[in-house]
Symmetry: C2
Subunit: 329 residues, 2 copies
């Protein structure tokens, strides 16, 4: 049976009414690199904007093996039970190489995927982090317009993708294991600093004692950082996605955060700052692309690099020459 | 008595002959924001280029109070005794505010400043970090052309200035105190990762025991990082600028580093990478400046930010609109 075709108007109306098929089709348009699809996606997003922005966006990260999928399965199922509509997106710029290391296999969340009020979408693939980020940001808008009020954005604890997810979410949750010994990594890469919560997963059975010790340690580490602009003091908690313990406490914590930051207006201010960040980021990336992809600049850049190596010019003089050339083109 | 005026040709010849007055005047041209001075500076640098690049450039950083000046005084005096010509420059973008917190007072190196073969220059002030960085990079070229074969570049352990100095030096030395308890800061801000040597200063008298313990700790911390591209294993050593102990060991270490990285060609490769970094960095900064300083863009940017806040457009659609506007201007 062939897929039913929707007109753009139908797609929008169905999407706003909460139809998951329409939402999926909309995201497919957003993710497409075809220019006709991109134009349709832009119009769709624009018409969805008045219906969006009513959600809480939660970033979830952690190294492979920490149990992100089982946590999201347990957490998402709880939210659905509480009457929420939950969308799960992912940011994984490596997914084109690894064939979708994150949620490529939806069966990893086999209960959540069957829920009427849950929508799970793997990371767009075959793209740079910047491309994935744009597509995910726009998909968030579509999910919100479709009435999803909790958006979970999962990313793997590698490279710059955590910073990217942090800059598109309201609350940032770091999943950890007790005794994994990667605390230094988290500090070094600035992940601990971004976290609003550190949740120690697999705190069950024989792990429980170590998890409690880890909680003390992370609490100590968190107190070494200056207070956050949100005035929120990041918290450390324990959970077991397996035993389904500590999961509702995470949701309570997020509600506490939302209450605080709605009251002190950080919540809205942060979203505006994020919008500004993405606007400037997108402009800067395009300015660079336009410059460096020009064939004459490419050639001249190569020549100038050689001249620098031969001590015939300096990087600053070479930059001036290339910028003047670009102006004349 | 009025200052003697040099023609540009005289200035160049005197500078290359090693005249410190000429070198000082040359750097003043480099630091000037007057466009006639900048043109003369560019010509001077270009004519100096064939005589430059024979030095070793050493970055020295550490928090205020660690004893940077006394270390440089002791280290520089040793190098002069060994027959070296030593230039000391500084990168301190805050110097316009703090009225020259680094070396504003040359008497802090009262012995070194009287040496014929030493040249000390405070940080250019009243400028962004980018501006200070360019001026310092160009001053290095003039110092090298004047025959200075060891260039020490001091920076204060604050903000991005350490990364900037790291990207213009061959060897990066981090000065520390025992028991200062700021190890986490160094890891968090990536400073430990950049260091080729950690030198624990004030390792004298009652401090000696704590300094030895700190050496063990830093050695442990360093081993947690992946091997460097230089293949150099960063070292931790003790010194006392006061007792003049451990100072010659630092110079031996740097010579060891130079020997290794000249042999495996990292030394030259790293300088080429740095040149490329500064070329691209300068271009990117100018592209942004040109865009954001355009009055029509300024106005349109403000309007688009308002439209985003009112949920009438997205950051990506706004970026596209602004980029198209810029193209038409």
């Amino acid at each position: 049976s062939r897929k039913r075709q929707f007109s753009d108007e139908e797609l929008k109306d169905l999407l706003i009414s909460g139809n998951k098929t329409a939402l999926g089709r909309g995201i497919t348009l957003v993710e497409s690199n075809q220019s006709s699809h991109q134009q349709r996606a832009e119009k769709l997003i624009e018409s969805c904007l008045p219906y969006a922005h009513k959600s809480i966006r939660i970033g979830i990260t952690g190294v492979p093996g920490v149990g992100k999928s089982t946590f999201i399965e347990a957490f998402g199922s709880l939210l659905v039970k509480l009457g929420k509509k939950v969308a799960v997106l992912a940011v994984d710029p490596s997914s084109s190489v690894s064939h979708g290391s994150i949620m490529g296999d939806k069966t990893r969340m086999e209960n959540l995927v069957t829920e009427e009020n849950a929508f799970i979408r793997p990371s767009p693939s075959g793209d740079s982090l910047g491309g994935v980020a744009r597509k995910t940001r726009e998909s968030i808008i579509l999910c919100e317009a479709a009435g999803f009020d909790v958006i979970l954005i999962e990313t793997v604890g590698v490279g710059q993708s955590e910073t990217t997810v942090h800059s598109m979410t309201d609350f940032f949750l770091l999943l950890k294991l007790a005794g994994a010994g990667d605390e230094l990594q988290g500090i070094k890469r600035g992940i601990i600093e971004m976290a609003d919560a550190i949740v120690i997963n697999k705190a069950d059975g024989d792990n429980l004692k170590a998890a409690r010790e880890a909680r003390l340690e992370f609490n100590r580490a968190l107190h070494l950082y200056p207070p956050k602009a949100s005035t929120w003091q990041p918290k450390v908690s324990l959970c077991s996605a397996l035993d389904n313990t500590g999961i509702s406490e995470v949701w309570e914590m997020i509600n506490e955060y939302k209450k605080l930051t709605k009251k002190n207006e950080f919540f809205e201010k942060n979203r505006h700052e994020q919008n500004k960040f993405w606007l400037l980021q997108t402009i800067n990336e395009h300015l660079k692309q336009r410059f460096y992809q020009d064939p004459q600049i490419k050639k001249a850049l190569k020549d100038q690099l050689t001249a620098i190596e031969n001590n015939e010019t300096t990087p600053f003089a070479a930059a001036k020459l290339l910028l003047n050339l670009h102006n004349e083109l």
